[in-house]
């Protein structure tokens, strides 16, 4: 299946410095599969949304999904 991945900020380095790419994954793949494919370092925390809704590593992907990956927002003064 084909999915559309968009990365924000410094995470674009995981898309070879592109802002967005099309990727092919096997049916039944999850966000965890995608993270593995993008070589997400275990120490890093990424946020992810699928078709504009917050998702997690267990979320199952479907053909044509649009995925956004970005850094988590923390605190602030």
């Amino acid at each position: 299946m084909k999915i559309h991945v968009k990365a924000y900020g410094i995470l674009q380095r995981h898309l070879r410095n592109k802002k967005e790419v099309e990727l092919c994954l096997e049916q039944g793949s999850t966000i965890a599969t995608l993270f593995h494919k993008l070589k997400k370092p275990k120490s890093e925390m990424w946020m992810v949304s699928v078709n504009g809704k917050i998702a997690n590593e267990n979320t199952i992907l479907n053909d044509g999904d649009s995925i956004s990956i970005f850094e988590p927002v923390g605190g602030g003064k």
């Binding site: 924000y8 900020g9 925390m45 946020m47 949304s49 504009g52 809704k53 917050i54 997690n56 956004s68 970005f70 850094e71 988590p72 927002v73 923390g74 605190g75 602030g76 003064k77």
Partner: protein, 632 residues
């Protein structure tokens, strides 16, 4: 009243302890007196400073049920043992009193230089009781203190009053903590501003200062405590300088507010009074855009190389004076997305007005957003607003509201009471638009994304507090504390509560020492700092117990004031999804929140009925006198 302290000569006394002065300044404004209290070394090691010292004095000296804006409230300025030490992050102090916004324990932290200056002037805190008959200011310098007439300063913007004070005391570098018009008029969320730019923002400490007719505290000091191991502090500072880019690069370059896009993508950026999430122009109000369009420089707090404080200047269409610094993330979101506004220059102007008049930007922005939603739903009309079109997205209306709140003019007088009281008065269902906890307006982080943060909003003693809270997106494990497996973002069970408990006890250390949250010290380095400053053979266990002690004392204060389990709750808005966007199919489950509270009380050693600390817990923390205060 002039106090001359013969023991202070501006030089280090050989018998002085390390890290603190062993002197607290006591001021009684009703009697026009100042005196020095000299606590024991056990006092300092048991309480360290900040929250613990504030809670100590409030429990010891306030009668339950007193009017927070009356003369019986006590206002406490508390740095910590680390404040003023030559180490990055040490420029901070806390301010505390019973809050006029919540009626509960009140505390706000602030950076800049003032806290360090207080330590260098020979004092570890200032405890202010009573109320002056006429406006006064306090002048503290090198072990001496003096109450001075401030009648000609009353009503001035803080930039003008600082200039006059500096001339009057003859010290060009005197540091000031001040209130402007909003504090003088006791707006319930008025703040206190250090050095014109740094706000002790939350829960109305500026209103308490105004109620005491205390315009300012000006300080100059040339001494201060000796450090036990200064070479170790140099080594730690060198480490930070060597790792600045990696550990704090983004903060150094932009300050806060550099992740607005990510905030929108995750649903965390509050939009139109926490109702919506779609705000396509979030980039227009980001720190990156500030850097490109209005920023003239970055500044630092005392001894800090991170320099994360923006200074902005705007000439047209609003004149924004760089004297008052620049907006942080909370301000950008509160006056920006939460009011539906993407006019960066208007937000910078709102920030400048809040500094000038000393208003908390979070509460001010949220109160205006609340009024905008009331206006949209016709609970307020142009008749109520003096003809102002108070619609979401109207920057002119937002700026007019800031002015009116600060001066308590027209509808500003009602809004100056905060959303909780304003909603009660407006009635007709306005309560459902009032986004507050215990009366404190909610900061710019959404519990529908961060469940643990939501638990914090509910149970924290000051109300909805985002600092020293669990940001679930950011912190999912704490391996060095024994939480090895990551807790999922959406989890709201015992694992999340345990993460919250450990994280918050750890974070509150910084409110007791005091250390800045934005300097990336880890727990081992914090221990090294405490040992190097004080010479105490301390460890993380001892330091975390100080923090836990302070949390229990603040909780005990609220229990004594009559707060109970039902007050630990979230506003209704968070039990419903956002209208669209990333969080449009999720909300906080009230049953899970209730269960999380029970688990939290259990883990903290508190009872289930009120969430009150038990005698055994207070004995374990070596504060049995607090149990006596609660008649346990």
């Amino acid at each position: 009243m002039l106090l001359r302290n013969s023991t202070f000569n501006g030089l280090v006394n050989a018998r002085m302890p390390f890290g603190y002065n062993k002197q607290i300044l006591r001021v009684n404004l009703s009697r026009n007196t100042v005196r020095i209290e000299r606590p024991s070394r056990f006092f300092y090691r048991r309480y360290f400073g900040g929250r613990a010292i504030i809670a100590y004095y409030l429990l010891k000296e306030l009668r339950p049920g007193i009017d927070p804006l009356g003369p019986r409230n006590t206002l406490i300025f508390a740095p910590g043992v680390v404040t003023g030490a030559p180490i990055p992050g040490s420029g901070r102090n806390s301010v505390g009193a019973k809050s006029p916004l919540t009626g509960a324990y009140g505390e706000a932290e602030v950076g800049g230089f003032w806290g360090a200056e207080l330590k260098h002037a020979g004092f570890d805190g200032i405890v202010i009781a009573g109320r002056a008959k006429l406006p006064v200011y306090l002048w503290v310098h090198d072990g001496e203190a003096e109450i001075r007439d401030a009648q000609r300063l009353w009503g001035l913007d803080i930039g003008d009053s600082q200039e006059i004070i500096r001339k009057e005391v003859g010290e060009r570098l005197a540091r000031t903590a001040q209130i402007g018009k909003a504090g003088e008029r006791m707006v319930r969320f008025a703040c206190i501003i250090n050095d014109l730019k740094h706000a002790a923002g939350r829960v109305g400490m500026g209103a308490v200062m105004g109620s005491k007719k205390l315009k300012a505290i000006a300080i100059r000091g040339h001494g201060g405590p000796e450090m036990a191991h200064p070479e170790k502090l140099k080594e730690l500072t060198r480490w930070l300088l060597d790792n600045l880019e990696q550990k704090a690069g983004r903060m150094h370059k932009y300050g806060t507010g550099a992740m607005m896009t990510e905030g929108t993508l995750s649903g965390n950026l509050p939009t139109r009074n926490f109702r919506d999430s779609e705000f396509p122009s979030s980039k227009a109000i980001s720190a990156q855009t500030i850097k490109e369009r209005v920023r003239i420089r970055m500044e630092s707090c005392y001894f800090c190389p991170i320099r994360c404080k923006k200074v902005v200047q705007v000439k047209k269409p609003y004149a924004v004076n760089p004297l008052y610094g620049g907006p942080e993330y909370e301000t950008l979101a509160a006056f920006g997305s939460n009011c539906g506004i993407d006019d960066l220059k208007a937000i910078c102007k709102a920030h400048e007005l809040c500094q000038r008049y000393t208003l908390d930007t979070i509460s001010t922005g949220c109160t205006i957003a609340f009024a905008m939603e009331c206006f949209e739903n016709k609970l307020l009309t142009k008749k109520d607003t003096d003809g102002i079109d108070l619609t979401f997205g109207n920057p002119e209306a937002m700026l007019q509201m800031v002015e009116m709140i600060a001066k308590r003019e027209g509808i500003g007088d009602l809004l100056a009471e905060g959303t909780m009281r304003a909603a009660e008065k407006i009635g007709k269902g306005a309560e459902k638009f009032a986004v507050h906890v215990k009366g404190e307006e909610v900061p710019m982080h959404d519990p529908r994304l961060k469940r643990g943060l939501g638990l914090g909003y509910a149970v924290k003693p000051t109300g909805a507090e985002h600092m020293n809270n669990l940001h679930d997106t950011w912190t999912r494990d704490l391996p060095s504390f024994g939480i090895i497996r990551r807790v999922p973002l959406e989890d709201f069970g015992p694992r999340k509560v345990r993460l919250y408990v450990y994280k918050v006890i750890y974070e509150i250390i910084k409110n007791c020492l005091l250390l800045c949250d934005f300097v990336p010290w880890n727990e081992n380095q914090i221990v090294e700092i405490v040992r190097a400053v004080t010479g105490w053979n301390s460890n993380l266990w001892e330091i975390m117990k100080v923090s836990e002690r302070s949390i229990n004392m603040a909780r005990a204060f609220n229990i004594r004031e009559g707060f109970t389990r039902k007050d630990d709750w979230l506003p209704d808005r968070f039990f419903h999804p956002q209208t669209s966007g990333p969080l449009s199919d999720t909300a906080v489950d009230p049953r899970k929140l209730e269960n999380a509270k029970s688990t939290y009380y259990g883990m903290m050693g508190w009872d289930q009925k009120k969430g009150a600390p038990t005698r055994a817990k207070l004995e374990e923390l070596d504060i049995p006198w607090v149990a006596d205060e609660l008649n346990l």
